[in-house]
Amino acid sequence: MKDTIDVVINGEPRTIAPGVTLLELLAELALDPRAVVVEHNRQIVRRPALGDVRVAPGDAIELVHFVGGG
C-alpha cells in the first residue's frame, strides 16, 4: 500500500495520507468544520457525517464558505 494518495482540493492537486476521513482532513488543513461546507465528489457531506467519509485516491473535494458579495 502506498503511503500517500493524490486528491484534488479546491481545484489543486494535493497529496494526503491514505484512509483519512474528511474530518481528519479538515483538522490537517486547520479548518474549523463549523466554518466550512464540504463537497465530496460533488456531494455535500453534512457536518455530523464528516467523520464517516474516507477520502479515496482521485477524490475531488471542495471546501467553501461565505465571502462578501452582492
Partner: protein, 270 residues
Amino acid sequence: MKTETPRRHDATMHDTPLTIGGRAFQSRLMVGTGKYPDNGTMVRAIDASGAEIVTVAVRRVDLDRSKNTSVLHHLDPKRFFLLANTAGCYTATDAVRYARLGREAGFNDFVKLEVIGDEETLLPDVQGLLEAAKVLVKEGFKVLAYTNEDLVTALRLEDAGCAAVMPLASPIGSGLGLLNPFSVRTIKRRLKVPVVVDAGVGTASDACVTMEQGVDGLLMNTAIAAAQDPVAMARAMRLAVDAGRAAFLAGRMPRRDVAFPSSPTEGMLD
C-alpha cells in the same frame, strides 16, 4: 427604550413589513457585502443602511490562509438575515450547486438566484434562471430570482414558485439607475409575490425614484461600497429608500403639461 434607531423612524412608521417567504422584514433596503475597502467600513456601512437582509457569496476557502476571507467573522448571523447568492454562475446546474452549498453554509433556505448569461453586461440568462428556480423550489428553497425587467419572465418566475422576483434597475455595478421605470412598475402591478429591484442604482436619487415605483424593496451593493464615503452613502440610501417608499404611499400629484398657479389668481391689485 429604543436602541435600534436606524431601523425605525417616521418615514416607515405607517408601512407594513416586507414579507418574503413567510418572513417579515422592517427594512426595505437590502445590501451586499462585496467590494468594500475593508471589513470595518463594511460593518459600519451596513449598520448605517439599517438593512436586515445582507447578501453573501459562496466561494472556496483560501487554503494558504494568505487572507481570512470569511465574511461571518464580521457579521453576526443573529443580527442580520444572511442571503446567499449564486453570483458568478453561468448555468442552471452551477447555480443549483452553489445554492445547495449556500444553504448548508448558512442559516436559512433563502437564496438569491443568479444565472448570468453574458460576461460584459452580467445580464441574466432567463432560461437557465427558470430552470434553476424550478429545481430549487422543489427542494424547498425560498428563491429570490435576479432577473431583467421583462414582465413575461417575471410572471414565469412567479409561476415557478419564486418567493420574490428581483428585476434589475440597470446592469450590476453600473450605477446607471432605473432605466425602465415603466417595466418595473408593470412587473410590480402584475405580480403577487414581492418585487425587489436588484442592481444598478448609483446614488440616493436612483434609490428614491425606484422605490417611488411602488416596488417592495431594493437591493444594492456597489452604490454603497464604491462611494467615496460608503458609510455616509449607506445612510443616504436608507433615507432615500424611506423617502421613496413614503412618497409612493402618499401618492404623487398628477403630471400636467401646463402650469397651475399655487397662489390665488383673485385679489390681485389693479
